[in-house]
């Protein structure tokens, strides 16, 4: 009697934090699980596993991406940057340095996703104000509520030295107007 069939494993190549990897993955393996469980890169966190919290954010070819909703097999040939890849040896990434200076984390669980998301935000080049930074970081939740400090840290790196002020904070709120 033939034994149970083994699931198909797909050969892929990924460059992760500057290191080339030749891997074999089942089609249903999310990139998040590949990073954490198979490659022991546990910096990236599984917060909700459904694309809602942003804790799993990594850079894929420089673009901020939710690794929990990415099938590894679909990113064959990509360059992936995780939080472990932000520093250059002992030299912290400017965002990491700013997060320390601004006390932008408490429990630290959302922080890898915040850092990679902010790095992606910087690459996108769309934020022009603190309000833009807050809006464009809104895909990263922080249960500890470090948002004000996170926003200042990201704004410092992306916009220049602060402190940065909201342009909307002291205006009457016009409900529902976009700029969101």
């Amino acid at each position: 009697m033939p034994g149970p069939r083994q699931p198909t494993r797909h050969p892929i190549h990924l460059n992760i934090n500057g290191q080339a990897h030749a891997l074999e993955v089942e089609a249903w393996t999310p990139l998040l699980d590949l990073l954490r469980t198979h490659l022991h890169l546990t910096g990236t966190k599984k917060g909700c596993d459904h694309g809602q919290c942003g804790a799993c954010t990594v850079l894929v070819d420089g673009v901020r991406t939710l690794s929990c909703l990415t099938l590894a097999v679909m990113r064959d040939g990509s360059e992936v940057t995780t939080v472990e890849g932000l520093a250059q040896g002992e030299q912290l990434h400017p965002l990491q340095q700013a997060f320390i200076e601004h006390d932008a984390f408490q429990c630290g669980y959302c922080t890898p996703g915040q850092l990679c998301s902010a790095a992606g935000l910087a690459n996108e080049g769309q934020a022009q104000s603190l309000d833009d930074v807050r809006e464009l970081m809104s895909g990263n939740l922080c249960r500890c509520g470090a948002y004000p400090q996170i926003a200042q840290a990201v704004a410092q790196v992306v916009l220049g030295p602060g402190p940065h002020k909201s342009e909307r904070a002291d205006k009457p709120i016009v409900t529902g107007t976009v700029p969101a």
């Binding site: 249903w28 694309g51 939710l66 996108e124 769309q126 104000s129 809104s138 205006k171 976009v178 700029p179």
Partner: protein, 349 residues
């Protein structure tokens, strides 16, 4: 997620050859589905709401171009990402309504990953649809609608049926509806062009069918007609329970052609209120030639909300959506008459 087979298609004929034929019902077990960005499909698979036996990766089909059409409109590749589309210079400049609507939805990460075609096909976020422990006619035809008379705060006030009161969650689609987009699809039978009004269905007695697509039809592009007449007076007003990163309770897309205090033409679509972006060209005809002032807008709102019916009970009632939608329509038209509002940092009121 259920185990599934995975292939990556390199030509359109080979992609569509790998999926099943038949009307686009989502209940067939063991079916094959296209995957592009995967931001909705993989979520639904993690919840076991959808369990395709095969995924056909369509990202290598070269369908991601954004380019002018010969008649002065725009062609959006189905595989172009939502973020790429929203930030594209041609879209920002000539279709600010579309750019604004896309950027009002989801999160930056999701917008980076999500495809244009996938945005059209995303499924309702009704909690009962997602909860496989509850009856749901969309997920399991004939099992009943759990939202009726229950928690229906996010549900429809227009176009619903006793079988389903779900809403379509997309912001981009509300803008595409207002901009009179056309959806271009390919299948073994050739290509066809579907007017946006005819793309999404009302639930009727087949809520398992979200769209008029056949199962083996692949969206290749979305085209927009020339919209220069509306460029300077476009607004996407999204009302929700947070300032960001939440679905609309009610949203309004307005594309207005106004001159000297008189409305020359208007396109109007509502989000958050029905199984599809809600638009009635007859209401737009009513507004043409009218003065650009509140009495005209109120009349249009009343006409567009004709037949609105509240759903749900207690804290789950969506009755608030009816007056909210009425005021939102008036607000959006008022804003549009004063000028285009975008979310790209240049309009702080």
């Amino acid at each position: 997620m259920n185990p599934f087979a995975y292939t990556s298609a390199t030509t359109i004929p080979s992609a569509i050859a790998q999926v099943d034929t038949g009307p686009g019902s989502t209940t067939a077990a063991g079916d094959a589905r296209f995957i592009a960005g995967g931001t909705n499909l993989l979520d639904l698979m993690k919840e076991n709401v959808m369990r395709p036996a095969r995924l056909v990766d369509i990202n290598k089909l070269g369908l991601d171009a954004i380019e002018r059409t010969e008649d002065g409109g725009l062609r959006l590749g189905a595989l172009a990402r939502n973020a790429t589309t929203a930030y594209h210079p041609l879209v920002r400049e000539h279709y600010p309504l579309l750019s604004t609507a896309i950027l009002a939805g989801a999160s930056p990460q999701i917008r980076n990953m999500a495809s244009n075609g996938g945005n059209l096909l995303q499924r309702t976020r009704c909690y009962y649809f997602y909860d496989t422990g509850t009856p749901c006619n969309k997920r399991a035809p004939g099992s009943g609608c759990s939202a009726l008379g229950a928690l229906a705060r996010q549900h429809a006030i227009l176009g619903a049926s006793e079988h389903c009161i779900a809403t379509h969650p997309s912001d981009m689609c509300v803008a595409l509806q207002a901009l009179e987009a056309t959806v271009h699809v390919a299948s073994p039978r050739g290509e066809r062009a579907i007017p946006f009004l005819e793309f999404h269905r009302l639930p009727g007695d087949r809520p398992d069918m979200d769209t008029t697509l056949q199962q083996d039809e692949l969206i290749v592009a979305i085209t927009l007609p020339n919209a220069e007449a509306f460029r300077a007076h476009s607004v996407y007003l999204k009302l929700r329970e947070r300032l960001s990163y939440a679905f609309a309770l009610v949203s309004v897309a307005v594309a207005l052609d106004v001159e000297g205090g008189a409305i020359r033409g208007v396109r109007l679509a509502l989000g958050g209120v029905a199984h599809k972006p809600w638009r009635d060209p007859a209401v737009e005809t009513l507004l043409a030639g009218q003065p650009a002032e509140e009495t005209s807008y109120r009349r249009a709102a009343d006409a567009l909300l004709q037949g609105a019916v509240p759903q749900g009970v207690g804290v789950g009632s969506n009755a608030f959506k009816i007056p909210l939608a009425r005021r939102a329509i008036v607000r959006a038209l008022t804003q549009a008459a004063a000028g285009t509002v975008t979310n790209l940092g240049d309009n702080v009121r």
